[in-house]
Structures are given as structure tokens and as C-alpha cells.
């Protein structure tokens, strides 16, 4: 019987860091992938990584 697969959860957001040392502010866009272990623990359907796929979890953009 084929295994059904679904996308795992994703977290998207924007964070800003104001550096204590310099006072400069940096803004980052974050993308998070919820891990399979947690998704399974919550009883959610999960997708296992496909062999050969990148483990890249997203992109982040840096701005002033």
C-alpha cells in the first residue's frame, strides 16, 4: 500500500535585531520547516525528505 504523504508545517516571519554593540538594526525574513518528529507527535501527516533533496530550510533576506 503506498504511503500517503503531505507537506509538513511551515513558519514564516520577519525578525529585527537591534545590535547592542553598534545600535544598528538588521531585519531578517525567516522561513522555518517544522520537523517531522514533532509533526508526527502531533498526529499530523508528514512527508519524509526525498533522498537527494536539499535540506535547505528557506531563504532569509537582509535589509537595513
Amino acid at each position: 500500500m503506498p504511503e500517503l504523504q503531505a507537506a509538513v508545517g511551515e513558519l514564516h516571519g520577519t525578525i529585527t535585531i537591534t545590535r547592542k554593540a553598534t545600535g544598528l538594526t538588521e531585519t531578517f525574513r525567516i522561513v522555518g520547516k517544522v520537523n517531522h518528529e514533532q509533526a508526527e507527535a502531533l498526529g499530523l501527516p508528514t512527508a519524509k525528505p526525498v533522498e537527494g533533496d536539499s535540506d535547505d530550510t528557506g531563504t532569509q533576506h537582509h535589509g537595513a
Partner: protein, 130 residues
């Protein structure tokens, strides 16, 4: 075969997860590595509103206002994980976070130094893809 979910199903899954963070003072913690069972050191800890997230729409839930960490613990290593947890420390979401840059070469990744102020101006969560 591609598996698709109805919007109703996606909302139900997302709400089931974010409802675990409904209690007051749930936290968004940026961490240095670790796993769900063995979380990495916290570099910054931000506090969610109550409840943390609103009701899911089109499979995605948006967090309410998040209080900044105005005196981050910091860590010399890059932040690579984030946890969403209750005020008591029960982690319900543990995820990888990316640390790359398009405008500046951040060779050290996303490093939070001690005393930095870390704010989160927007955050959304989606349990299932479409």
C-alpha cells in the same frame, strides 16, 4: 501522487496546533541547534500575546503582537532553530530556521549577541500544505 487538503482540513490542522499555545505568555525562542527532545541553547526569547495565534484562514494562522526580547541571552553560534512553546516550557513546534542573506554576505549566519534586542514583526504558521 500528490496529496491535497481542503481548506477546511488545513484550517483544522493549523488550529489544532496553534491552540496549544493559547495560554498566556507562550514563547517564541530562537535557539542554537538541538532537537525537540533536546532543545539547543536559547539565544533570544520573545513572548506571544494571548492567545498566541488567531484562527486559521486558508490554512494559515497569524500570530498576534509579539513582545520583543530587549536583552537577548545571545550565543556565539548561529541561530538555526526556533521553538514555539508554552510559558512552562512545553515545546509544541520545533523547526529549522534559515540563515542566509541576499544583500549582505552573512558568513556567520544569524548570530544574536548578548544584549541585542530581538523583535518579531510578523509570524505565520501553516500546518499543512494545500
Amino acid at each position: 501522487m500528490t496529496l491535497a487538503h481542503s481548506t477546511t482540513a488545513r484550517d483544522a490542522a493549523t488550529n489544532a496546533v496553534v491552540d496549544l499555545l493559547d495560554a498566556a505568555a507562550s514563547k517564541l525562542v530562537f535557539r542554537v541547534g538541538g532537537t525537540l527532545g533536546s532543545p539547543g541553547a536559547a539565544a533570544a526569547t520573545l513572548t506571544f500575546a494571548t492567545p498566541a495565534f488567531g484562527a486559521s484562514s486558508s490554512g494559515t494562522s497569524t500570530a498576534g503582537a509579539i513582545a520583543s526580547d530587549t536583552n537577548a541571552a545571545g550565543n556565539a553560534s548561529s541561530v538555526s532553530k526556533a521553538s514555539l512553546q508554552t510559558s512552562g516550557g512545553t515545546i509544541h513546534i520545533y523547526c529549522d530556521v534559515a540563515a542566509s542573506a541576499s544583500d549582505i554576505n552573512m558568513s556567520n549566519g544569524l548570530v544574536i549577541a548578548s544584549g541585542d534586542t530581538v523583535s518579531c514583526s510578523s509570524l505565520t504558521y501553516m500546518a499543512l500544505g494545500a
